[in-house]
Amino acid sequence: MAGGTARPEGVAPPALSLAGMRERPWYREARAILRAYMRNRPAVLGAVLLLGFGIVAAFAPAIAPADPLKTNLTLEGIYQPPAWDHIAGTDSQGRDVLSRTIFGARIAWQIVLAAIGVAIAVGVPLGLLAGYIGGKLDELVIMRIVDALMAMPGLVLILAVTAALGPSIQNTMIIIGFVWSPGYARLTRGVVLSIKQEVYIDAAHAVGAPPRRIMLRHMLPNVVAPVLVLASLSAAGIILVEAGLSFIGAGVQPPTPAWGGMVAKAYITIMTRSAWPILAPALAIILMVMSFNFVGDGVRDAMDPRLRNIR
């Protein structure tokens, strides 16, 4: 945090507390959230699966039975059905599909994390500024651009930027993040507008705190919890879009093993050759998206104090 006066020991803990819960210390609040989350079975299952995807991604070289890029261009080598030496079969170039799917988990995680990072880095400061400054800049400039961007179907916008920048894994991360950022800007602005009239903001103004300090130290902590919720909810959509992009050839480029691209490659020959190479990456996409959906719903419900004590 680039606050005007650096006081590392005095950094306020992220205010996980929402309205009406402020008097509780943050760690008790966090424990209550965790307890509410653990009661939600699908959400726990989703978290376990994501942990699994994380381990697979982190230790891909150790787990994968073969080199994901090693081809075997012989008649017997390509399009092998699942068997002991290639559990998910081999693809059109004789590569081990299971190993490629395992390395694909790395690509998926990289893109989700980087895209959310970009979305937060672009959206949150914009939302803070728009909400804090308000007035014409907010109403007529920033929010109108946000409206226009959000009116577009996400994929269409992503493809348009891809046309200009060219497809690559870095561009995919940045572009998805950029396209997701208006949602974060709108959310942040909403939070800032709702707390702008609070007494502690007035007090900060009264003691002469500069705007930057008010935004970073007093407003930003209130944004953390809702942004976390939005991040967990947007992850599933990001995986879906990335898979779609790689499927149509506008995302991660071969031979990098992205799941969508693997499906596309196998789909070309579906009329004449076996469909086995589609199965593993397809299952991986569906499982990961489903896990993120469960986790997103779980985080949202657990963070909402109104829902937490009902069940």
Partner: protein
């Protein structure tokens, strides 16, 4: 009501103009000179200059934008950067397939999601509801292209029931058209149906807990009348709002699904020109096509509010 409608129409126009500026700037300001892309890396500076001149790239930016904008309003979308053919003619061939896919999908989404959502709301916690919510999560997690491929494998190749690729215009042969569209429409509608179903269900549950529903029942009205005229009528506002969001989802889905089923529509054209040839003039016009579709559908949603809710009509809300 008139004032409200005029305001909505105007703000839609403003959004479209903003999108057109964004699309134009994306194609013309970001790194990657269109002329350089056409002539290749090894071109001489003279050839590059000639190409720029021919494409009108030496004019000031705002003049080029204005020229594109005002010509487009008159139906002249300009020429393809690479092939030098009129874009409007390409669009005439491509648009019907995409609208065909989009409109059929919207019909299927509404036709399935609203009735199922209402049924799921009638008995919360029942088996029907469990089925509906499972369907919803699955529908939310499977990308369109995988649904499409699954259908191709099962219905198209294994059962050999429906044609797998291609497109037949509706007015040439409606039966063949529907046969070709059945699988793509299913693939596009699944996610949107799941989302709309969820919204319908929760909106109906909220409404059915209202006092006036109990009153209507107490009056002895038939259940169907209570549910449709008193329940659904009041749940329609949130349902219609979500339907507006679906529009974007459906057109995004169409872009990808056209690839799976080899439908020669705007989505195919878009992908061809993003992945293979980077034809900037075509891309900016395709972006505007999708923007117009989505903004128009959302405008219809906005304009339906006063019709659905007398409080908005009277301007009290």
């Amino acid at each position: 009501m008139l004032r409200y409608s005029v305001r909505r129409v105007l703000s839609s126009i403003v959004i479209l103009i903003l999108i057109s500026i964004l699309a134009f700037l994306l194609m013309n300001v970001l790194p990657g000179d269109p002329a350089a892309r056409i002539v290749g890396i090894n071109a001489t500076p003279e050839l590059l200059e000639q190409t720029k001149e021919r494409l009108g790239l030496n004019e000031p930016l705002h003049e080029r934008y204005a020229s594109w904008f005002f010509h487009a309003l008159q139906g002249d979308l300009g020429d393809s950067t690479i092939h030098q053919t009129p874009i409007a003619e390409t669009f005439e061939r491509r648009i019907p397939a995409t609208l065909n896919l989009g409109i059929l999908s919207l019909i299927v989404v509404v036709g399935l999601a609203v009735p199922i959502g209402v049924l799921a709301a009638l008995k919360p916690g029942s088996k029907r509801e469990v089925t509906a919510s499972t369907l919803m999560i699955v529908g939310n997690s499977v990308p369109e292209f995988l649904t499409g491929i699954g259908l191709v494998l099962l219905v198209g190749l294994h059962l050999d029931l429906l044609p797998v690729v291609g497109y037949v215009p509706f007015w040439e042969d409606p039966i063949q058209n529907l046969k070709h569209m059945a699988m793509p429409v299913t693939a596009v509608s699944l996610t949107a149906t799941a989302l709309l179903m969820r919204q319908t269900r929760s909106a109906m549950i909220n409404v059915l807990n209202e006092d006036y529903i109990r009153t209507a029942r107490a009056k002895g009205l038939r259940t169907r009348v209570v549910i449709v005229r008193h329940g659904l009528r009041n749940a329609l506002i949130p349902i219609v709002t979500v339907f507006g969001f679906q529009a974007g989802l459906i057109f995004s889905g169409a872009v990808i699904t056209e690839q799976v089923f080899g439908i020669p529509g705007m989505g195919r054209l878009f992908v061809e020109n993003v992945v293979h040839s980077q034809d900037f003039n075509i891309v900016q016009n395709v972006v505007m096509f999708f923007a117009v579709c989505v903004v128009a559908l959302n405008l219809l949603v906005d304009l339906s509010y006063p019709w659905l809710d007398p409080r908005i009509r009277e301007g009290r809300r």
